[in-house]
C-alpha cells in the first residue's frame, strides 16, 4: 500500500491511463494536470487548460487513449494526444447547470455526462458532421445526477441522483450500435427507458457501480447506507445501514464484494450474499500505524478534563492514511471481477494505492473470490 501526497488542495477527480503509468487529476481548479510515474516519484508532464470552471469529472479511455473532462462551466471537452500535446474538442452538452460526472462507455464510442440540469447527456461522434452530438435523458430525473456507471453491454447506464434514487437507464443510440440482447434488467431498451429505480434508501446517491457481469448494481447513499440490487424478473434489493459517516464512492472488486470509502477517510469492505440477498460488513481496510501509547500525567488529565470535559487520552488525530474524506475510488488491476489493486483520492490532496492481497492477509479480511 502506498500513499503519495500530490497537493494541499483536494483532488476533485482523477483518471488513469491504460497501463497505469500516468494519472490525470484536477487540483481543485480549472485545469487538469497529468502526472507520469518516474520510479518512486510523480512528475507533472502536461497541463490541460481549457475549462472556465472547476473540472468535476475526468475519464481516460484505455483503448483509444482519449480523455474526456467536464466542468462547472457547463462544457465537456474530448482531448486527443497529437504528438506530445493534448488537443481539446468542445462538446456542446446543451445544459444550463454545471456538469458533475462523466464516463466513457466500455466500447468508447459514447460517453455520458451527469449534470445539475436534472438530465444525463449521452454523447456520440457523428461521422458526417465530424462533431460530437448529444441526446438527453430527462424523465423521471428530478434533481442533480451525482454519479454514473456503464453496464458492460455498452447500452445500460446506472445513475445516482440527488432525488434519492439510483436508476438504470437505457442509453441505446441507434446511430452507433446494434440492438442489444436482453439482459437481467429487461429486454426492451429504447433510449431513455428506465430499467430499474431504487426504493428503500433515502439520501443523495453519491456513488454507483455495476458489477463485472452487469447483473448487480451497488450504490452508496448519504444516509450512511450501501445497497446492492440484483437484476431479474423482479429486482432484488439488499441494503445495509452503517454506523459510520456517509460513503462517497463504491466499487465492486469481485462479483460478491465491494469496497467503499467516504467521509470516514478509510476504505471499507462489504460482502454480498446472493442466496440470502443480504449484505454484511467485511471490515475496515485501513492499515493504521501502531502509535506508541503515551502515558498521561495527572496534570494532562486535569487539563483534558478542563478543556474537553473528558479524561479520554485519544488524540484528535486521524489514524487513517487519508487525512480527509475520500472522494473517488478507481480499479487499477484485475478489473471489477478480480481486483488486485485499487486507488483512492481525496480531499487531502493525496492518492493511496491499496493492494487487495496484502490487505486480506494483514487484516484477516476474507475477500470472497468467485
Amino acid at each position: 500500500m502506498s500513499y503519495h501526497s500530490f497537493l494541499l488542495e483536494p483532488i476533485s477527480c482523477h483518471a488513469w491511463n491504460k497501463d497505469r503509468t500516468q494519472i490525470a487529476l484536477c487540483p481543485n481548479n480549472h485545469e487538469v494536470h497529468i502526472y507520469k510515474k518516474d520510479g518512486n516519484n510523480w512528475s507533472k508532464i502536461h497541463v490541460l487548460k481549457e475549462h472556465n470552471g472547476q473540472v468535476t469529472g475526468i475519464d481516460w479511455a484505455p483503448e483509444s487513449n482519449r480523455i474526456v473532462t467536464c466542468g462547472t462551466d457547463r462544457n465537456a471537452y474530448v482531448w486527443t494526444l497529437k504528438g506530445d500535446v493534448w488537443k481539446p474538442t468542445l462538446v456542446i452538452l446543451r445544459i444550463n447547470r454545471a456538469a458533475r460526472c462523466v464516463k466513457w462507455s466500455p466500447k468508447e464510442n459514447k460517453f455520458a455526462v451527469g449534470s445539475g440540469s436534472r438530465l444525463i447527456s449521452v454523447c456520440y461522434f457523428e461521422q458526417d458532421n465530424d462533431w460530437w452530438v448529444c441526446k438527453h435523458i430527462k424523465k423521471p430525473i428530478r434533481s442533480t445526477i451525482l454519479c454514473l456507471d456503464w453496464h458492460p453491454n455498452n447500452i445500460l447506464l446506472a445513475a445516482g441522483s440527488c432525488d434519492f434514487k439510483c436508476r438504470i437507464f437505457s442509453a441505446y443510440i441507434k446511430e452507433v450500435e446494434e440492438k442489444p440482447a436482453p439482459t437481467a434488467w429487461g429486454s426492451k431498451m429504447p433510449f431513455g427507458e428506465v430499467m430499474f429505480e431504487s426504493t428503500g434508501t433515502s439520501g443523495w446517491v453519491h456513488g454507483v457501480c455495476f458489477s463485472d457481469s452487469g447483473n448487480r448494481v451497488a450504490w452508496a447513499s448519504h444516509d450512511s447506507t450501501v445497497a446492492v440490487a440484483e437484476g431479474g424478473k423482479t429486482a432484488v434489493c439488499a441494503s445495509l445501514t452503517s454506523e459510520t459517516l456517509p460513503l462517497l464512492c463504491v466499487t465492486f472488486i469481485t462479483e460478491n464484494s465491494l469496497v467503499a470509502a467516504g467521509h470516514d477517510c478509510y476504505p471499507v469492505l462489504f460482502v454480498y450474499d446472493s442466496n440470502k440477498a443480504a449484505m454484511s460488513f467485511g471490515g475496515k481496510l485501513d492499515v493504521p500505524k501502531q502509535s506508541a501509547q503515551k502515558g498521561m500525567t495527572a496534570r494532562e488529565r486535569f487539563q483534558n478534563l478542563d478543556k474537553k470535559a473528558t479524561t479520554d487520552s485519544k488524540e484528535a488525530v486521524l489514524e487513517s492514511v487519508h487525512k480527509n474524506s475520500i472522494s473517488q475510488i478507481s480499479i487499477l488491476n484485475g478489473g471489477k471481477a478480480q481486483c488486485a489493486k485499487f486507488c483512492t483520492t481525496g480531499m487531502d490532496g493525496g492518492m493511496a494505492i491499496w493492494d487487495v492481497k496484502v490487505l486480506s492477509i494483514v487484516k484477516h479480511v476474507r475477500v470472497q473470490m468467485q
Binding site: 452503517s242 454506523e243 459510520t244 459517516l245
Partner: protein
C-alpha cells in the same frame, strides 16, 4: 422614483411555490397512522414493565401522517417512557432494540431536543449517549437525512 416601485409587497411572495420544477416528496398514505397506543403504553408503565413499554411506544411511528397532533402526542408518550427508566437500565433498554429501533429512538430523541421541558434534556442526553454507542454516527446521519420523520 416612479409610483410602481413604492410597494414592497412583492418581497413577501414565496417564489418557490411557483417553480414548476419544484421537488415534491412522494405522497404515501399516512392518514391511518395514529402513533403508538396510549392505553397500552400507560398500562405497561404502571405495571413496571419498562422494557415492554419501550417496545410498545416504538411501534407504529407516525412518520407519514401530516397531522401534527398525532406526532406531538407520540413524542410526549415516548418522553414519558424514557423518563420513567432508571439511569442504570437505559443501556439495557437500548440493547433490547434492533437496528431500526435504535434509528427510530434517535429520531424521537432529537425531536425531544427541539422542545426542551423541565427535565427532558438531561434524560434525553443520557439516552442519546447510549443510543450513539449502539447505532454509531450513522444513526444520527439517518436522523438528519430522513425526509419523513416523527
Amino acid at each position: 422614483m416612479s409610483k410602481n416601485t413604492v410597494s414592497d409587497r412583492f418581497r413577501k411572495v414565496d417564489v418557490d411555490e411557483y417553480d414548476e420544477n419544484k421537488f415534491v416528496d412522494e405522497e404515501e398514505g399516512g392518514e391511518n397512522q395514529l402513533g403508538p397506543d396510549e392505553a397500552e403504553v400507560d398500562s405497561l408503565i404502571r405495571q413496571g414493565n419498562l422494557m415492554g413499554a419501550l417496545q410498545a411506544v416504538l411501534k407504529s411511528p407516525p412518520i407519514n401522517t401530516k397531522n401534527q397532533n398525532v406526532k406531538d402526542r407520540a413524542e410526549g408518550l415516548v418522553l414519558k417512557v424514557l423518563s420513567s427508566f432508571k439511569s442504570t437500565d437505559i443501556e439495557k433498554g437500548v440493547q433490547s432494540l434492533d437496528k431500526n429501533g435504535v434509528d427510530l429512538l434517535m429520531k424521537y430523541i432529537y425531536k425531544g431536543f427541539e422542545r426542551p421541558s423541565e427535565n427532558s434534556s438531561a434524560v434525553l442526553l443520557q439516552w442519546h449517549e447510549k443510543a450513539l454507542s449502539a447505532g454509531g454516527v450513522g444513526c444520527i446521519v439517518r436522523v438528519l437525512t430522513a425526509r419523513k420523520t416523527v
